[in-house]
Amino acid sequence: MAALTKKPAGTPAGKPTRAPGRTSRWLRRNLVVLAGLATLGYLILPNAVVTVFSFNKPNGRFNYEWQRFSTDAWTDPCGVADLCGSLSLSLEIAFWSTVGATVLGTMIAFALARYRFRARSSVSTLLFLPMAMPEVVMAASLATLFLNMGVTFGFWTVLIAHIMFCLSFVVTAVKARVMSMDPRLEQAAQDLYATPLQTFLRVTLPIAAPGIAAGALLAFALSFDDFIITNFNAGSTVTFPMFVWGAAQRGTPVQINVIGTAMFGIAVLCVLVGQLVGGRRKRS
């Protein structure tokens, strides 16, 4: 199972005479490991490049070629006009769409997981369709609606759009968790004279919490990183991805890489801390 740790034992260091046979056998046995690690390299490579180029000092407006080492961008991350404004706007939109999508999505997930009702299959289809639809189609159609209703594009249209496309993902995440929950726990709580509200707050919610958290995290990531739907529905509002898109045409400041690197670092740190806490809780 632990092929990664077995690696040194498998290398033909001890018996050089039989090396070819052993090497090929070792290679055949660990081919999948090597292929997997190669894919991982492919996935990580751009992040490495983003990080390295956050220390670049480019000559022109574009940060695509390595010139010389500099920490200028790191000491002045907001040095480019509108960059940090777009970042905080993106965070704000991501926060509110996470709240909106998580509340609405959790309610739907509970209804689907706990109750039998008519129109169940239509509801499932309606929830599945946004995930099975290219973003550009949703983006264009929603923008057509807004346009014809005479709605001004901006913060609110982006927020509405983000809640719309994050909703289904939250439902999927929460529903999976609620479905796998033992209903007898709630029955036990009620047998012990807990009111429905107490049962929900003290039993149901804590058990469903990991699913809700996963859904919320997904919604935040999707909303924060969304470009296509925002592109159609933002008007002149500039979110962070919109800023990067514009920069790709006008010239890419190094600060973009700084923010990309910081985001990556924060994400890894959060997950590691989360797992550390989770692991400790499991042990105790």
């Binding site: 990664l4 999948v32 490991v33 997997g36 190669a38 894919t39 492919y42 996935l43 990580i44 490579l45 751009p46 992040n47 983003v50 695509y64 999505g105 309610m107 509970f110 109750y115 009702f117 509801v123 499932s124 309606l126 929830l127 599945f128 946004p130 995930m131 099975a132 639809m133 290219p134 973003e135 550009v136 189609v137 949703m138 264009a140 159609s141 929603l142 057509t144 609606l145 809640i163 719309m164 496309f165 909703l167 999927t172 009620q190 004279y193 990531a221 990183d225 470009f227 296509i228 159609f232 962070f240 991805p241 990067v244 898109w245 790709a248 973009i256 690197t261 990556f264 994400a267 797992q275």
Partner: protein, 308 residues
């Protein structure tokens, strides 16, 4: 469900179950109402609205009116069919590559990683949190002319081969189909790996041992046991990769040239630059219909209906 306890309660409470029953009947609808309403108003209604826009004629100044001008569809198809075909071809290639690249990694994480499993999982998900536009721009650096990758491919005569195949041009990778497909593959790879991992992880490792005990060779075990059991992940992964890849216009815009424009690029420019809303609506309607048809066929054929 809630009635088990109430049977032994004092009679004073007996009306409660009836009330709870009626309330219970309505509860799912109250829970569904806000979210479903949101989807109906901001997802379903726009699609209907778009269908009507696609048969309108007019201009920005005079306004658009429904005239059942179906020729818009015909014109859109005849003018932009290369972009349609290109989108499907690029997306299909990228999906196949994602499956080929993603499967070993998902397998590695599920069966061979041991205590490294969580670390590998983090490394798969973490890139998500760096804006994908920034990461796509990084490919511009990686694939730049005269960069290490292109030099190495040139020295190994790989570029001669790809030039001959028509996927690259003039010994460069940027602004060629190869760059766009490479970007698409990269961007949607996690969407393939996660469902694959999800279905592989559920496989009981004892099944592998059993296959081995029955003298199945590793390849046979994979073909007869592992792969069939991972089919739900394969189906979900290919859909989650193919659908967004077909409609994508970011990779074609950032890594391709005008010869690699996909249908998403056309819709975007028709909508946001040319302001020809009927054509944009017709194009996205055709795209949606084509994708729904392909997805339905694919799901029928692979026999997994329960995707949500």
């Amino acid at each position: 469900m809630a009635l088990i306890g109430t049977q032994e309660e004092p009679p004073a409470v007996t009306p409660a179950p009836a009330a709870a029953g009626r309330r219970g009947k309505l509860t799912p609808y109250w829970l569904l109402l806000p979210g479903i309403l949101w989807l109906l108003v901001f997802f379903a209604a726009p699609l209907v609205y778009q269908a009507s826009t696609s048969v309108q004629t007019g201009s920005l100044e005079e306004g658009f009116r429904v005239t059942w001008h179906l020729a818009t569809y015909w014109d859109a198809l005849t003018e932009y069919y290369p972009q349609f075909l290109r989108s499907v071809a690029y997306a299909a290639t990228a999906t196949a590559l994602c499956l080929a690249l993603g499967y070993p990694l998902a397998y590695l994480i599920a069966f061979r990683a041991g205590r490294w499993r969580h670390v590998l999982m983090v490394l798969v998900i973490a890139p998500f949190f760096t804006s994908f536009l920034i990461r796509t721009l990084a490919w511009k650096t990686i694939l730049s002319d005269g960069g290490p990758v292109v030099s190495a491919l040139g020295a190994l005569h790989v570029l001669d081969l790809t030039d001959a195949l028509g996927v690259t041009e003039g010994q460069r990778v940027l602004a060629t189909p190869l760059a766009v497909v490479c970007g698409l593959t990269y961007n949607f790879l996690p969407f393939m790996i996660l469902p694959l991992y999800g279905s592989l992880e559920r496989i009981d490792p004892r099944l592998h041992e059993a296959a081995g005990d029955l003298y199945a060779r590793p390849l046979t075990t994979f073909r007869k046991v592992t792969f069939p059991l991972s089919m739900p992940g394969v189906v979900a992964g290919t859909l989650l990769t193919f659908i967004p890849a077909t409609g994508d216009y970011i990779n074609a815009e950032l890594l391709g040239s005008t010869d690699q424009k996909m249908i998403g690029n056309v819709i975007q420019s028709q909508f946001l630059r040319v302001l020809d809303y009927p054509t944009a609506a017709a194009l996205s309607f055709i795209l949606m219909a084509a994708i729904l048809a392909m997805v339905t066929l694919y799901i029928r054929k692979s026999g997994t209906e329960d995707l949500v």
